[in-house]
């Protein structure tokens, strides 16, 4: 059974925002809603600037699904987390629960009124009949039903963003890391994520101008 996931390689992402544009264009996402966005840290710092493309990560144990008071979320057979806009009440609990900030709320009226939640669907549409107009209007295009992968991943020019079965894309990433050789402590950010090497050990090479 496939478990559809995204994986973004920060060593490859060039912050072109092609994934963001592809998503917007593919699903005709309204103004103010960003199902996918590129996050950059250390902007402008040579050697330390890193970008990553973020959207719904289709968690195996999704917190949005756990907190939804109307239980509008569901998981498809291939592991994609989707929701039913006919049930959503726009309460925003999922937004607070999501560690990736994936749920988006269109400004549906005056006084900051929140509309129904919108998020990345892994290009799998929603609970309306597949490829129907109703599905497109509410959830966007259903590319999985056409035998295709999400538009963002297929559009990515540097193939930083991978989409597909978790095992398959993890294998691709593993192969890539082995080829380029920066695995373990040589990788940028290792020190921040996993701590500094013990005293007396050879320090890892830090990029110029950046803090690892």
């Amino acid at each position: 059974m496939a478990r559809m996931k995204f994986l973004c390689d920060a060593e490859r992402c060039i912050e072109c925002n092609g994934c963001v544009t592809a998503c917007k264009q593919e699903h005709e996402v309204p103004w103010g809603v960003n199902r996918r966005r590129v996050v950059t840290i250390n902007d402008g710092v040579i050697g330390a600037e890193k970008s990553i493309s973020v959207a719904c990560m289709h968690c195996s144990d999704a917190p949005c699904m756990a907190v939804c008071p109307v239980d509008c979320f569901y998981r498809t057979a291939d592991g994609v987390v989707l929701h039913d806009k006919d049930l959503c009440i726009g309460c925003g609990y999922c937004f607070y629960a999501c560690p990736f900030g994936a749920p988006q709320f269109p400004q549906a009226g005056a006084f900051g009124l929140r509309g129904k939640m919108d998020k990345c669907t892994f290009c799998a549409g929603g609970p309306e009949p597949d490829r129907s107009e109703a599905e497109f209007k509410k959830y966007g295009r259903n590319r999985l039903s056409e035998g295709k992968l999400p538009a963002c991943a297929e559009m990515c020019s540097t193939k930083a963003l991978l989409g597909g079965d978790g095992d398959v894309i993890a294998d691709i990433y593993r192969d890539r890391v082995a080829r380029r050789g920066n695995k373990g402590a040589e990788a940028w950010g290792w020190g921040s994520a996993y701590g500094q090497p013990p005293k007396g050990a050879a320090p890892a090479a830090a990029p110029a101008g950046g803090k690892s």
């Binding site: 239980d71 259903n142 992968l149 991978l162 890539r176």
Partner: protein, 80 residues
């Protein structure tokens, strides 16, 4: 006094009768179990000019989409 006590007891029992049953079944308690009306991707007819699989056959759909996933690895795609 006796009458007031009787009214209080009746009111107490009536309040109990008005209580709505709120216990849920184990199935309802499971998050993500409410929405059941989505169609699986492999139950669709392939597009005329798109990737092909046998309608309703999950394995053939997974096989073709796996090829597409592997094509994201340029080292394999260009034979490096």
């Amino acid at each position: 006094m006796k009458r007031a006590a009787l009214i209080a007891v009746v009111a107490l029992f009536a309040a109990g009768c008005m209580e709505v049953e709120q216990t849920v079944t184990a199935e309802q308690r499971q998050a993500g179990s409410t929405v059941k009306r989505d169609t699986a991707a492999w139950n669709n007819e392939p597009l005329a000019n798109g990737p092909k699989w046998a309608k309703g056959d999950r394995n053939s759909w997974e096989e073709q989409i796996k090829k597409r996933q592997l094509a994201q690895n340029e080292s394999v795609r260009i034979g490096n």
